[in-house]
Symmetry: C2
Subunit: 279 residues, 2 copies
C-alpha cells in the first residue's frame, strides 16, 4: 500500500480486488460498510460488479445485474469466481460466485453487459419533484457503519423507528437524495451500491426494526460509463416503494435519478423479514 | 409415451424433463410455444423453474427466479445443469445453466426457494379495476405459435401494430386477462410462464414490430403452492408498464393478480430492441 492510499475513498478500498488468476479474484470485507450482520448488500453488489468490470475479457457496459445473497459474509477474505458465459455480437453474459472458507458460497450473481447503440428513446417515468439536497438536513445515523458512508436527505418517507411496530402499515414510499460521504465520482461500482441504499420497506411499514435481509437484488442500468462520468459526484435522487409484504418476504422497487433528470438505474429486490408479533 | 399423453396439456409437454443424473435433466423445444426466433421466453423460464421443482433436493416454494437469455434456443434437445448452491434453515439457493450442442450455454438462471412462515401481511398495491374476462373478446392472434397457447383479453393497452412506428410514444400501460388455452390449473410452472406473457412494451410504445428480445427476466412469487392450487384454472389479471426506452434496451415491470385480488407474482425485465428509424 503506497502513500496515495491514504486518500483512497472508502468505497474503492472496500471493493478492491486482487487477481489470483484470469477468472478468480480475492478481496476482504470492510468495517466501514458493516451492517447489522455482515456487509451492506450494496457494497457486495458493487464488489461483484467490479469483479467483471476488471475482468480482462470484459466488453462494454453493464445492463443488468442480479445478486442472490445466500448467507451473510463473515469478516475477512473472500474469493469470487468470474465466468464469462457467452459473448455475442453486442451482449456478454457473466456468472459469479462469491465464496468464503474455501468452498462455502455466500453470494451468486449474474450480469449482462452490452454494446448499446443510439436508438429511439422515451422516458415514461418522471423524477419526483424535490427541493435541492442543500436545503434538506442530513439524516442523522449512528447505529450502523455503512450508513456513515452515505449522506441521506429525505424528501419524504424517512424511516421513523419506534420500539414497537405500528398497528397498521405506515407509508412505504420514500423520496431521498443520496450521495457518498465523502463525495465520490459516480461510476458503475458506486451505482450498483446505490441500488441497495433504499432502506428495506419493512422498516417503513412497521415503523420498527425487525429482523430482515435482502435475498435477491436485481439492478438495471439505463446509462453509459460516459453518462456517469459527466455527473461528477452529484447526489442522486432515489424513489423506493413496495407492493406486498407477505409471509416473511416483501418486494421493493427503486429508481435512481441524476440531478438533471436522467433515470440512471432501476432496482428490484425480495427481502426476507420476520415479524415479532406473529412468530 | 403412453395413451394418457394424448390429454397432456401443451405446457406440460413443452416443459417435460428427463432426468440424466441427480443434477442434470434434458428436454426438447416445443413447436407449440415457438416465438419469432426461438421458444417464448416464458416457457424457457417455466422449464428452468420446473428443473428445480423436480430436483430430489428441492425444499419449499420459489420466491425469486432470474433468467438470463444468452441466445435463442434452437429447435431440438437441450440440457439443464441444476446446482443446489446453499441450503439454510429456511432458504435454498439454486444456479442453472441450459445448454445446447453439448457445451453452448443458451440461458442461465438463479432461484431462491424458501419456507415461508405466516407473518404480518400488507398489500400496498391494488389490482386494476377490470370487467370480467367473459365480457371481453379474446385478442385475435395468428402470427406466432406461442400466442395460440394463451387467451389474452385486454382491458386496456392492447398492442396495435402498424407497418410503421409512430412519431411519438404511444401508451405503454396494459391491463389484461390471460389464461392458458386450453385452461390448465395454475401452478408455479405456469406462473413462471405467465410472468413473461406481457408483450414487450416497445411494441406498444412504437405501435410497430421492431427486432426485440428479453435479455434478463426476474420473477418474484408472493404465494404458496397451496394458494395456487386453490385457484384452479381461473384467468389471471396482468398489469404491465415500463419506465424507460434507452439506447437499445427498455425495462418492464408486470404484476399478476388472481381473480379474487391476490398479488401472485411480480416480474421485471430488460428487453433488447432495435429501432429501424435510427440504426
Amino acid at each position: 500500500m503506497d502513500g496515495s492510499s491514504t486518500s483512497e475513498h472508502q468505497l474503492d478500498a472496500a471493493t478492491r480486488l486482487v487477481r489470483i488468476d484470469e477468472n478468480t479474484v480475492s478481496g476482504a470485507t470492510s468495517d466501514a460498510y458493516w451492517n447489522l450482520n455482515g456487509p451492506f448488500g450494496g457494497v457486495v453488489a458493487a464488489i461483484l460488479l467490479r469483479s467483471i468490470l476488471e475482468h480482462p475479457g470484459k466488453l462494454w457496459d453493464p445492463v443488468a445485474l442480479t445478486v442472490n445473497f445466500c448467507a451473510p459474509l463473515k469478516p475477512g477474505v473472500f474469493r469470487i469466481r468470474v465466468r464469462e458465459i457467452r459473448t455475442n455480437r453486442s451482449t456478454q453474459h457473466w456468472s459469479l460466485e462469491l465464496t468464503q472458507d474455501e468452498q462455502r458460497c455466500v453470494a451468486t450473481a449474474t450480469a449482462v453487459f452490452a454494446q448499446r447503440p443510439q436508438t429511439w428513446r422515451h422516458l415514461g417515468a418522471s423524477p419526483p419533484s424535490a427541493p435541492p439536497p442543500e436545503s434538506i438536513a442530513r439524516l442523522k445515523t449512528s447505529q450502523l457503519n455503512w450508513l456513515e458512508q452515505y449522506e441521506f436527505r429525505f424528501v419524504r418517507g424517512a424511516p421513523q423507528l419506534q420500539a414497537r411496530p405500528a398497528e397498521h402499515s405506515l407509508e412505504t414510499l420514500s423520496h431521498f437524495w443520496v450521495n457518498d460521504a465523502p463525495p465520490r465520482n459516480v461510476d458503475f461500482v458506486s451505482l450498483a451500491a446505490f441500488c441497495d441504499t433504499a432502506f428495506a420497506r419493512i422498516l417503513h411499514a412497521r415503523g420498527a426494526l425487525v429482523p430482515l435481509g435482502t435475498v435477491s437484488l436485481t439492478a438495471y442500468f439505463h446509462c453509459s460509463s460516459a453518462d456517469l462520468a459527466s455527473l461528477g459526484f452529484s447526489p442522486l435522487l432515489g424513489v423506493a416503494d413496495t407492493r406486498i409484504f407477505h409471509n416473511g418476504f416483501h418486494d421493493q422497487s427503486s429508481e435512481l435519478w441524476s440531478r438533471d433528470g436522467q433515470l440512471l438505474a432501476t432496482a428490484h429486490q425480495m427481502t426476507y423479514f420476520r415479524d415479532p408479533r406473529v412468530n
